[in-house]
């Protein structure tokens, strides 16, 4: 709302100055718009959290969303992970061979996949598949008055629609990340053994010896946060969707882009934090 009001100010200023907007007004309006959007998103997130962790829970809805978010994402997550693991092994081998350090391929692959790439790739893939999907579905419900209908039938959209998606995402994402970790490491192993002439047993032993519980836990913690980000962005943009196919399409795009950027941003913040605390 503030942003649009700001835009009107800019527009008036533009008219007065014959098409040359005052840059300070433009920056001011854009900043106000950004802050109010962040504020709305944060309040929405708190409301989703509050409903997700207090009864009543629509268990059937949570289960349905877990199947949608978790099970149906397995192919895309698995395929992405195997190629990322394979490419990672090749690049580490190429870089390592310059210093005669090819033997570090298994340890760097397992570290890179579990601490970073397994979770990030899963997060990014689900930002596209799930966040945009949730947003389009809820957006379509919003513009066809189904969300209003829910409220008139004494069912809160937060409790019936948003909280189940939020819970399903924060449960399904860690499970998907575990799968991505295993398949990603397997991708690295496949390339190393069949293309780079590594001994299979030695590769697996090096991988197992280097891997610690903390590496896996770091990825899983990230996955929970990414799940929260993806579900919240999808629900938020869907809930705010404007009428018509354009409105719903725009909501889906905003959800996907917003979720992807937030996945990368929170990933960096968490990585910094985990390094600081020695996790």
């Amino acid at each position: 709302m503030n942003y649009s009001q700001g835009s009107e100010i800019v527009s008036n200023a533009s008219t007065r100055k014959r098409g040359f907007p005052n840059p300070l007004q433009w920056i001011g309006a854009a900043s106000l718009g950004l802050f109010s959007e962040v504020g709305r998103l944060f309040i929405f997130f708190l409301k989703v959290m509050a409903t997700a962790f207090t009864p009543r829970w629509y268990v059937a809805q949570v289960w349905k969303q877990m199947v949608n978010i978790g099970f149906y994402s397995l192919p895309v997550v698995g395929l992405s992970a195997v190629f990322i693991g394979a490419a990672l092994a090749l690049n580490i081998y190429e870089g390592g061979s310059r210093y005669g350090a090819e033997q570090f391929v298994p340890s760097i692959v397992v570290l890179g996949i579990t601490r970073e790439l397994g979770a990030t790739i899963t997060g990014l893939m689900l930002a596209g598949r799930v966040s945009a999907g949730i947003s389009a579905e809820i957006g379509a419900m919003r513009v066809t008055e189904q969300i209003d209908a829910l409220e008139t039938l004494s069912a809160s959209p937060f409790r019936y629609l948003y909280a189940p998606r939020f819970l399903a995402a924060i449960i399904a994402l860690p499970l998907l990340v575990l799968v991505a970790d295993i398949i990603g490491i397997m991708g690295g192993w496949l390339v190393s053994v069949y293309a780079l002439d590594f001994d299979s047993t030695t590769y697996i032993r090096n991988t197992m010896d280097f891997l610690t519980n903390n590496d896996v836990i770091v990825g899983l913690i990230k996955a929970v946060v990414f799940g929260a980000v993806i579900a919240t962005m999808g629900c938020y943009q869907g809930d705010r969707s404007e009428a018509g196919a354009t409105g719903v399409g725009r909501a889906a795009t905003l959800a996907m882009v917003g979720a992807a950027v937030l996945v990368l941003a929170t990933n960096y913040i968490m990585s910094t934090l985990f390094v600081e605390i020695g996790l």
């Binding site: 709302m1 649009s4 009001q5 629509y58 419900m141 066809t144 008055e145 189904q146 209003d148 209908a149 829910l150 409220e151 008139t152 039938l153 004494s154 069912a155 019936y160």
Partner: protein, 254 residues
């Protein structure tokens, strides 16, 4: 004098600089069927959403059965909604649920009725709107627009409400189906003894279902009276609207 089931007192609603409702005053008595007429963009749907609690007015008060519900939340609002049915313009059926799950949604989710019992109640209610049990397991996308309106009507009456809102109940339907929907509305509202508030710009529908008619123009109720004097209202705006003339005090919305 009995307490009206619904009373709107100087209700105002704006969106930014756009003032949609500029002080609506309206009363609906128990058992009354009130039709609110108004052109496109006159604020009919906004008025209805305020009355339902889907929007909060900027000013004014809304009373349901004598209780101020203008800013009610939580249990008070839930209790009010238990006694209200709503038929949306688009039907607003949930795509992912079957017809019977749509009809018995409130029974399943709010009242936590067993699915078997809820399905029986849904099929009984579907019969009241002339739909057979064969429709119960279909999804909304598998039935026609007229059938969707009937299903939506069944959903709005299943919990035997005291007040039912109808938002453009005949929009998008052919004249025969529209008339059948009007008949069903009259029949069901009478059998429940409920009050009905319908918003429409379909005069045939208004003449058929209304005891009283109100006209909303530029955010205010400009006329309110018995349906049978609508043709002699003595109000130029009502007259122009009722006769569907382009000439007159109301400017066409084009």
């Amino acid at each position: 004098m009995t307490t009206p089931i619904l009373r709107l007192e100087n209700v105002k609603k704006s969106f930014g600089q756009k003032h949609v409702l500029k002080g609506v005053d309206l009363e609906v008595q128990r058992g009354e069927s009130l039709v609110v007429l108004g052109g496109s963009g006159s604020g009919k749907s906004v008025m209805l959403k305020n009355a339902l609690g889907l929007m909060t007015p900027n000013d004014g008060k809304i009373f349901f059965d004598g209780e101020d519900v203008t800013k009610s939340t939580g249990k008070t609002r839930a209790k009010m909604r238990e006694r209200i049915g709503m038929l949306f313009q688009s039907g607003a059926l949930f795509d992912s649920l079957t017809v019977w799950e749509n009809v018995s949604f409130r029974l399943l989710q709010a009242d936590r009725m067993r699915r078997k019992d809820a399905k029986e109640r849904a099929i009984e209610t579907l019969k009241k709107v002339r739909l057979g049990p064969d429709v119960a397991d279909l999804y909304p996308a598998e039935i026609s627009g007229g059938m969707q309106k009937r299903v939506s009507l069944a959903r709005s009456i299943i919990s035997k409400p005291d007040l039912i809102f109808f938002d453009e109940p005949t929009t998008g339907l052919d004249p025969i189906t529209a008339d059948a929907i009007n008949d069903l509305i009259i029949e069901q509202v009478r059998s429940l003894g409920a009050a009905a508030v319908s918003i429409t710009h379909d005069m045939a529908s208004a003449r058929k279902i209304a005891n009283n008619i109100a006209m909303l123009y530029e955010g205010k109720i400009i006329w309110h009276g018995p349906a049978d004097i609508i043709d002699n209202s003595g109000n130029d705006y009502v007259d122009q609207f009722v006769h569907g003339r382009a000439d007159g005090p109301i400017q066409p919305a084009i």
